[in-house]
């Protein structure tokens, strides 16, 4: 079940890239071949870009795909690593949770405005940050929780700075 959900999230991120790319091709074709430039294609591209980043980094990326500073983490024992993970998970969960109400208000407030071409209300457009924040909270509760229960991480640690 969980695996299928991951597959769906992954497909969504792939679809966002495809839509972004197709919008570019359409944009270029209309502008240079048909001499009839479109505005909404640019807007669609930037929407896909924003959604792709926040969606995929919260829901799709595995731990070894994220960009991190691994020198210290990679050189300590499994026990110390679990302490590290527990500490950073607690801190980041706390910060995302504390800021969540303010972020919700901001996204909610943005309903007053719409994007210029596609008329997407900004609250809908920016709601991806709420998805990102909530998914990150869940993700780091999971990582921190499994560290506290003594489980090793699932990163391949073949090299310390990878």
């Amino acid at each position: 079940m969980l695996r299928r959900l991951v597959k769906v999230c992954e497909a969504v991120s792939a679809a966002l890239l495809v839509v972004m790319f197709s919008a570019f091709l359409l944009h270029i074709a209309m502008r240079y071949v048909f001499n009839d430039p479109l505005g909404w294609t640019v807007e669609l591209q930037t929407i896909c870009w924003l959604w792709l980043i926040l969606w995929a980094s919260a829901l799709v990326l595995s731990e070894d795909e994220e960009i991190r500073f691994d020198i210290v983490y990679g050189s300590v024992s499994g026990r110390v690593r679990r302490v590290f993970r527990a500490v950073f998970s607690v801190v980041i969960v706390a910060l995302y949770v504390v800021s969540l109400p303010a972020v919700y208000d901001y996204v909610d407030f943005m309903a007053v405005d719409e994007s210029p071409y596609l008329d997407v209300p900004y609250n809908l457009l920016f709601s991806v940050y709420l998805i990102f924040a909530v998914a990150s909270i869940v993700r780091y509760l999971w990582i921190g929780g499994s560290a506290l229960m003594g489980l090793p991480d699932d990163r391949p640690d073949s090299n310390p700075a990878g």
């Binding site: 792939a14 870009w49 980043i53 960009i67 210290v72 993970r85 303010a102």
Partner: protein
């Protein structure tokens, strides 16, 4: 600089050292700053989304990633390699030359040093170490050194990021990278030729000259890629972002239609991989956008400028200082993070001293790339060590002369601005 700012910086460094992804660390540290300063914590989300939403130029990044991934899964690297072997493989130490030339050409596609080392580098390392003709550590060292060329020659993801930060023409920056890239390539080839003679590296059986036209023809579609990209931008036909989209479309076309090397399943995997790479770089960029807001609120760049003024630094010593700082950071940190966080701090000072922004950009990018292969912690070192399974100490020993060449090149590029600026000026750059 306030106490709140110090707390935020300490939190970011602390979280990153513990192993939290750097993007999350920067967002988290910035939220902490807003919290302790009593500001609205939604500003973090606002800056992140508005920044990503309004920086159209950044869209070149996913398109470059996509183009490079497509080229990697296609049989493209094999064809390029066959071409390079036919070209320079016949000289003593030939595979070392092939390594450098392949980086020069391939860099036209990937725009990322690590992608160069992992894709093309892996294949060349296997060729070099087969039958023990070259030591593993030498193959690893020259691969790491030559991979630094990738992001200096266009297209280049670090240059796109610099263009965004410095609000400088991406086209002129791309042009500015061409001569420095060639210079570094020549320096590495010269060193390889010298070492090949001294250490008695083997001579390959030369590829007969009559095979050269055929091999060139096979590699031609791949060789044309940078030409299309640059012609699109400098012909004035397309914007850099549109040119990146055309490059990706071109890569898709040749790998599916012409080379027929991609199945639908493989295509989906490639798209998915590009989407992931985009997200992991994008989160870092987003985090940097948020943190840069904090840096601006604190007026840090101005403080740095005032400090440097007080030291009475001239442009010469300023550039030396920046080079040293970036080299040191480059052996410790990821290049994108340095570029997005450290460079904005020095940029106003550089401009106040009359240093050309295109020149400064190329110096910074070369510098960060050298950092990638500098001991003890350069990422390229670990990538090539991982491929060759050679001990790190041996690789570092073989790498040192190459590193020397890279640093000499950096000094030339830093103190002879014409190396960077000649080509952009030919195309009308007023600087």
């Amino acid at each position: 600089m306030s106490g709140e700012f110090a707390i935020a910086v300490a939190a970011i460094i602390g979280l990153a050292v513990l192993g939290l992804p750097i993007g999350h660390a920067m967002i988290g540290g910035s939220i902490l700053y807003l919290l302790v300063s009593g500001l609205d914590m939604a500003i973090a989300a606002e800056k992140l989304m508005q920044g990503l939403f309004r920086s159209y130029i950044l869209l070149a990044i996913p398109l470059f990633i996509f183009a490079a991934d497509l080229m990697n899964v296609g049989s493209l690297s094999d064809r390029l390699l066959a071409f390079c072997r036919a070209l320079v493989g016949r000289f003593r130490g030939g595979l070392g030359h092939v390594n450098v030339v392949a980086s020069l050409i391939f860099s036209g596609m990937s725009g990322s040093a690590v992608a160069d080392a992992v894709g093309m580098g892996r294949i060349i390392i296997n060729l070099m170490t087969r039958d023990g003709r070259y030591t593993k550590s030498y193959a690893a060292a020259i691969t790491a050194a030559s991979a630094t060329i990738g992001p200096i020659i266009p297209p280049s993801i670090p240059i796109v990021l610099y263009a965004l930060i410095a609000n400088t023409s991406i086209g002129y920056l791309f042009l500015g990278g061409i001569l420095p890239g060639l210079l570094i390539g020549l320096m590495l080839i010269a060193l390889n030729a010298y070492l090949a003679r001294r250490r008695g590296f083997p001579v390959e059986a030369p590829v007969p000259a009559r095979e050269l036209p055929g091999l060139t023809l096979q590699a031609l579609p791949a060789l044309l890629m940078p030409v299309i990209l640059l012609a699109g931008i400098y012909g004035g036909a397309t914007t850099p972002t549109e040119a990146a989209a055309l490059a990706a479309a071109y890569a898709l076309l040749i790998s599916t239609v012409l080379y027929r090397s991609i199945t639908p399943r493989l295509l989906y995997q490639t798209i998915s991989r590009s989407a992931r790479s985009t997200a992991s770089v994008g989160l870092l960029i987003g985090g940097a956008l948020v943190f840069n807001y904090v840096v601006t609120v604190e007026n840090i760049p101005n403080a740095v400028r005032v400090l440097l003024d007080a030291w009475n630094l001239d442009a010469f010593s300023f550039l030396l200082l920046v080079n040293i700082i970036l080299l040191v950071l480059g052996c410790l940190l990821e290049g994108t993070a340095i570029l997005l966080v450290i460079v904005p701090i020095f940029l106003p000072a550089a401009q106040a001293m009359g240093i050309d922004p295109v020149h400064f950009g190329v110096v910074v990018v070369v510098n960060i790339m050298i950092g990638l292969s500098t001991p003890p912690f350069g990422l390229l070192l670990f990538v090539t060590a991982n491929i060759t399974r050679a001990p790190l100490g041996a690789i570092i020993r073989d790498l040192l002369p190459f590193l020397g060449m890279l640093i000499v090149s950096l000094l030339i590029i830093t103190y002879v601005p014409d190396v960077v600026l000649t080509v952009p000026r030919l195309f009308g750059y007023q600087g």
